[in-house]
């Protein structure tokens, strides 16, 4: 039932989009398959990433060499089990030139199983699973977002600089959660920090109260967490409600306060995070992008939109350089590897494993906004452990 509805919605959406984008005189059709969660818990980030991508395609549409861009949009529902099936249909039936997706790391793994070592270029606009640009890296897989290691690694040093020696770690027991805590530990322990306790909750449990009571009892110098979306909102509110805000500093990977600040309200004030983007970032491209996005959709973009936008930019710049000829996939990959993307987060390049080499910003929530207080790590490259590229 839901499957049918989803296919229908995807078909309908794809139809309208292809209508709107086929104004140019077609010499050849560039097919882009999109796999994003458009329903379910990840629908917010999924839709946002899609909007970013569409904006990039629209901006460049006028000079895309009279190529028609055909979009095929599939809803992953953030269900890893369906990922191989959807990715196969894009590859075999639709014979797409590019696949953009997904938001969820589990889905990314399913897609990578199908797309790895294939000719079709896959661009991941969010999912941070280390393996995608680590052990499972592949010439045709690129990522315009981050590796789970990147946003959290610099926070270990930041914590030490602030004089926090004993830190309590808590997250969900899934890829992104574990990898984020490990990345923090890596730099924190190397600098002589001590981990009081490391708690991994089953995903997506949000019964945080027992753990917050435990944090109060342990009384560490600071707490480092990875939570996102609804869980992030609840953790920050519970932390504040128990009177810990102001007593024990709360540090996190930036997703703790991305898209959740309004829901968290006052409770988020003073939370310190590290991330590769901040909405208020004073980069010319960011200001332009925010206005363009606002004009198009009536609200301001979030980080997922930035990452989707950059995936679109990567495709379009590549098309421009190749004059719209994507028949030689090796040439496509060669061009993409050398790109410098003028991103709203600041320009970035791709590492040997095809992950962005980017700045990680230090942010603090002040008056309901993530204010950039410095650069926690400049042009940080993921170590890409296990990647043989």
């Amino acid at each position: 039932m839901s499957k049918c509805a989803t296919y229908f919605a995807a078909l309908a959406l794809g139809f309208f989009l292809s209508l709107s984008s086929s104004i140019a005189f077609a010499s050849s059709v560039i097919k882009i398959g999109v796999m994003q969660p458009l329903t379910g818990v990840y629908a917010g980030p999924g839709q946002s990433g899609l909007n970013g991508l569409l904006l990039a395609l629209k901006e460049y549409e006028t000079n895309a060499h009279q190529n028609e861009i055909d979009l095929i949009i599939l809803d992953t529902e953030a269900k890893p089990a369906r990922a191989p099936e959807l990715a196969t249909s894009l590859l075999e039936q639709n014979k797409v030139d590019f696949v953009v997706g997904p938001a969820h790391s589990g889905v990314a793994m399913g897609m990578i199983n199908v797309l790895r070592e294939k000719d079709t270029v896959m661009i991941i606009p969010n999912a941070g699973a280390a393996a995608a640009t680590g052990p499972l890296c592949s010439p045709n897989i690129f990522r315009t977002s981050f590796s789970s290691w990147q946003p959290s690694y610099p926070m270990g040093k930041v914590a030490l600089q602030k004089g926090y020696r004993d830190v309590y770690l808590i997250s969900w027991n899934y890829g992104m959660g574990r990898e984020s805590l490990e990345a923090f530990e890596e730099s924190f322990k190397a600098g002589g920090g001590n981990v009081v306790k490391k708690v991994l909750l089953p995903f997506p449990s949000t019964n945080f109260q027992p753990h917050i009571s435990d944090i109060a009892a342990q009384d560490p110098d600071a707490v480092f967490v990875f939570f996102a979306g609804g869980g992030a909102t609840k953790f920050v509110k519970d932390y504040d409600a128990s009177g810990l805000r102001g007593n024990i500093p709360l540090l996190g990977s930036g997703f703790l306060t991305e898209g959740t600040l309004e829901a968290q309200g006052e409770a988020a004030e003073g939370v310190i995070t590290t991330l590769h983007y901040a909405e208020q970032l004073e980069v010319q491209k960011n200001l332009e992008f925010r206005e363009a996005f606002h004009n198009e959709y009536g609200h301001y973009p979030d980080i997922y939109a930035v990452q989707g936008y950059d995936a679109g930019q990567a495709i379009i710049i590549t098309l421009n350089e190749l004059k719209g000829d994507v028949s030689d996939k090796r040439a496509v990959i060669d061009v993409m590897e050398k790109l410098t993307i003028d991103s709203p987060r600041g320009a970035f390049t791709f590492s040997r494993a095809h992950n962005p080499v980017q700045n990680i910003y230090l942010r603090e929530v002040i008056d309901g906004a993530n204010v950039v207080t410095g650069i926690a790590a400049e042009a940080l490259e993921d170590p890409a452990r296990g990647c043989k590229l």
Binding site: P202, N207, G230, S242, A263
Partner: protein, 287 residues
């Protein structure tokens, strides 16, 4: 674990259990009295929370929003019973499951269309903001105590209405022999409408009072639904008393296992359910 921390965790467990009870009580009522398996019960929890968020942003008043949300959900409950559920009393559980699963999809899509997919939060009303000092660096939020008091109050009210009033007597009678009650001149149709709407309202009240301490997100209904089914099954289907005890047990067990063995926290309540069912296949307080 120090004694101090132990007491705090017991409080946390009871608190969590009471909220579970509030949702599960409506589920067990509808299932026990009417024999309707309502999978969309969790959706009503979600509807309550989203309406609450919406009205708080519009009106700014917690009480007004709560009253509006309860009224709307109550009407929604009557509507659903009259239009849909009524046709399913004599059908088997599989048909009911298909209907109510369909309702889950409808409510989730409506939520996405009407309110979007971002997480939302409701702030704690000023009068209940703040905390009672508990340890040297932490406090116990007043609002959570308020939630617990409301839950206990509703439990008491339910116990009184079902056990001590004429309405309760009819409900109990309808449960054991529908035809006989009808033959005695009781309008069983309206009675069922009342019970269903009331059950749905209990879920919505849980969503409303939990809104300041939870995050309002897509899929929030399904996540509580499963836990509540566990509570209903452990307590014995249709038993309010059973749901109360089972909810407290589940609350305490998941709180303590969450601390002692975080990786087991999700699994443990199912293991507990299996153990209970091995000893008492009908649940703790089955009729």
């Amino acid at each position: 674990m120090t004694t101090e921390l132990f007491i705090v965790q017991v409080l946390n467990g009871i608190q969590y259990g009471l909220l579970l009870f509030l949702i599960a009580s409506g589920l067990t009522l509808v299932l026990g009295v009417m024999g309707i398996l309502n999978l969309a019960h969790g959706s009503m929890y979600m509807v309550g929370a989203y309406l609450m968020w919406y009205f708080v942003t519009v009106t700014g008043s917690f009480t007004v929003s709560a009253a509006l949300s309860v009224t709307i959900v109550l009407s929604l409950g009557i509507l659903i019973e009259r239009v849909l559920i009524q046709r399913f009393y004599n059908r088997n559980h599989l048909d009911q499951v298909l209907l109510t699963i369909g309702m889950i999809f409808v409510f989730n899509s409506l939520q996405s269309i009407l309110f979007g997919n971002d997480p939302y939060g409701v702030s704690v009303p000023d009068a209940l903001d703040g905390g009672i000092p508990l340890t040297n660096n932490s406090t116990y939020p007043v609002y959570r105590i308020f939630v617990a008091v409301i839950c206990v109050g509703i439990a008491g009210l339910l116990y009184f209405v079902i056990g001590r009033t004429r309405l309760g007597m009819m409900i109990r009678a309808g449960e054991s022999n529908r035809e006989m009650v009808e033959a005695l001149g009781v309008n069983i149709k309206s009675l069922y409408t009342i019970v269903f709407a009331f059950g749905v309202m209990l879920a919505a009240i849980a969503g409303i009072i939990a809104s300041p301490v939870s995050s309002i997100v897509p899929g929030m209904g399904e996540s509580v639904l499963i836990t509540c089914f566990v509570v209903v099954v452990i307590g014995g289907m249709g038993s309010i008393k059973g749901a109360f005890i089972a909810a407290l047990l589940v609350g305490l067990i998941s709180t303590f296992f969450s601390i002692l063995m975080p990786s087991m926290a999700n699994m443990i309540i199912y293991i507990f359910m299996i153990l209970v069912l091995l000893i008492k296949p009908q649940g703790l307080f089955a009729k």
